[in-house]
Structures are given as C-alpha cells and as structure tokens.
C-alpha cells in the first residue's frame, strides 16, 4: 500500500485480514517517464510484500498504467513494454487496475492495449470504472471493449467500483463485480450490503479503498460488522468478504492463502 502508513498494515492484520491485493494506480501526480513506472513496479513487487510480511500479511499486486495517465498514449506504450518483465514476479496476479477515467478516445485505446496484453499473457484483469458522473458511461464502454475481445473470459475479469446503477449490467454480462468502500464517493458499507441483499452474493465482492484520498483500510471488516448488525449469518459474511475473493483470485496459480 504505497500510499499508506505502516500503521494501516498493523490495523489490517489486527482486524483479521490475511492478504492485501494492491492494484497499480495513479500516484496523485503524473509520472514523467517510463522510468518512474519501472521503480513503481519494483516497489509493488519487491518492497511492499516485505513491508506487509512484517505483519503476517500476504501482498499481491496488479500492474498497468492507470487510466488517469492514459491520455498520453506514447507513455502508455512505453509502460506496457516493461510490464512483461514483471509478470513472472510471485505476487503479480494480473493486469490492473485498467479501465477509463474521463471516457476519452485515448483512454479507450490504452484500455484495449492492456486487454490485449492480458489475453496474450493469460492474465486476470482488474478494471477500474470512472468516478461519479462518468461511471455509467465508462462502465458501458468498458464492458463493450471486454466483450469485443473473444479471447477474454468474463469470469476472469473483475469490474470494480460498481454502484447501484452499474452493478446489474456488470453481473448480467458475466463479470465479477467489486464494490469499493469509500467514505464519500463510490459505496458506503450500508449501501454495499443493500446491493448484496438486492443482487445476491454470486460474483460479488467488497474491497477497502486504501489510496491517497480519505479512505478506510478497515472498510471491509466494518462492512462485515454491518452485515452482522442486519442479521446476516456468519457463513454469508464469510462468503462475501473471504470465500468470493479467494474463488476469483485463485484463478491465478500464484494466489495461495
């Protein structure tokens, strides 16, 4: 969790978390060259696993150039050219978080390049859907890109940050859907449990946002508490917060817990 302090690892371990799955994402500013990404990928594949291991946490990661930096297609091509060097690292689960941010033509082009790489290297895919007013349109465009590539199997892709207006289209298209828990944007714990109660637990999971913004690394344990408050059984809680992620992630032979 490159954007978080070590205390967050301590809190997560104390709350019973067993593993961290960290996608490559925006640094809060645009990196100036491919070299910045090379160092970032080393941080994700070499340094962070060691930092997490001090607290007994397994650390897994996903690699890409985030959609927020995808307007620069040449930079994206350069970054994509170094990703294969890291795909064999033991904690790399796949390509992510790819997707769209403002739904531009260049973002779409870079998304297609990432999807092509995932298909060529038989990698799982983690997709970021845009924020706020851009999410509906972006989710539709992303599903279109994934569906248009016959090599991509929906059950090997998770489309993240779904909300009430996008979850149905993601699940109906056969993909996994992730609900990212965030205090202000995206989804609160109460709304995530509402979505589970409406759509069931099939191909659905929750994750805690742990980034540069105001976010809560223990959001998933708090959402589990929310489920228990509503009378969900221990088995139902376990399926959503533990078994479902294991089912999806175990499609990568590197994911062992």
């Amino acid at each position: 969790m490159v954007s978080r302090v070590t205390d967050d690892y301590l809190d997560m371990a104390a709350a019973g978390c067993q593993a961290v799955c960290e996608p490559a994402f925006w640094a809060g500013f645009d990196r100036s060259s491919v070299d910045g990404f090379f160092d970032y990928f080393r941080q994700l594949t070499e340094h962070e696993p060691k930092r997490a291991a001090k607290f007994g946490l397994l650390h897994f990661t996903w690699l890409c150039i985030n959609p927020k930096e995808s307007e620069d297609v040449k930079l994206a091509e350069d970054v994509l050219s170094i990703i294969p060097k890291f795909l064999d690292k033991p904690n790399v689960l796949g390509i992510g978080e790819i997707g769209l941010n403002k739904n531009s033509r260049n973002e779409l082009k870079v998304l297609e390049m990432h999807v092509d790489m995932a298909a060529k290297y038989n990698q799982l895919i983690l997709v970021h859907t845009p924020h706020l007013e851009d999410k509906l349109k972006g989710t539709r465009l992303i599903i279109e890109v994934l569906k248009n590539d016959s090599r991509i199997r929906p059950e090997r892709c998770i489309i993240d940050h779904v909300e009430e207006h996008t979850v149905e289209m993601v699940l109906n298209a056969g993909f996994w859907a992730g609900m990212t828990l965030y205090p202000e944007s995206k989804c609160t714990a109460a709304r995530a449990v509402d979505i589970v109660e409406t759509y069931g637990q099939q191909r659905l999971w929750m994750n805690s946002a742990c980034d540069w913004g105001v976010s809560v690394p223990l959001a998933v344990p708090y959402a589990a508490l929310e489920m228990r408050k509503r009378g969900h059984t221990a088995e139902a809680v376990d399926k959503l917060v533990y078994q479902n992620p294991i089912t999806f992630l175990s499609q990568s032979p590197k994911f062992k817990i």
Binding site: E71, K102, L108, L132, K135, L141, E164, H165, R230, G231
Partner: protein, 88 residues
C-alpha cells in the same frame, strides 16, 4: 429485516443526513453569486426521492450521470465534478 428493525438501525443516522442536506441548501441560498450545473443536478436528483418509485439510490445516481455513449475526444482534466453539466 422488518421495517421496524431497519428504522431502529438507520433512522437517526439518516435523520442527521436529511438535516445536513437542508442545511447545505440553506447555505447555498444564503451565499452570494450564481449557482452552477451541480446545484441544478442536485435539485433534480432530490426530486427522484419524492416520486414514490423503487430503486431510489439507482435513480439518483442515474440522474447525476452522463447519459451519452460516445467517448469524448480528449480528457482535459482528471477530476469528476459529481454531476453532468448537460442535466436538463
């Protein structure tokens, strides 16, 4: 859960959120200058809550969303504003 149980769990929290929304609109109306598209979209979204239709959270989100389907030519910002400027 029964409706009584839902009320017992969530009424106070949502009563507070409702008052916060009222206070926010009061604050806007007390301030000087013009509103922008966000407040217009906010008022439209609020209207979704009193229509008596199901799936109110979904309807609010849809009313705040860009409904177009074509990619934009170029991203000139990374940020989202929370409302679509084209809201009627």
């Amino acid at each position: 859960m029964t409706r009584q149980q839902v009320l017992d769990l969530y009424f106070m929290e949502n009563r507070a959120k409702l008052i916060d929304i009222g206070a926010f609109i009061d604050r806007i109306e007390r301030a000087t200058g013009e509103e922008d598209f966000r407040m217009k979209a906010f008022r439209t979204a609020l209207g979704e809550l009193s229509k008596g239709q199901p799936a109110k959270a979904r309807r609010v989100l849809l009313s705040l969303s860009d409904p177009t389907t074509e990619p934009i030519s170029v991203a000139t910002t990374k940020a989202a504003s929370g409302a679509w400027p084209g809201t009627k």
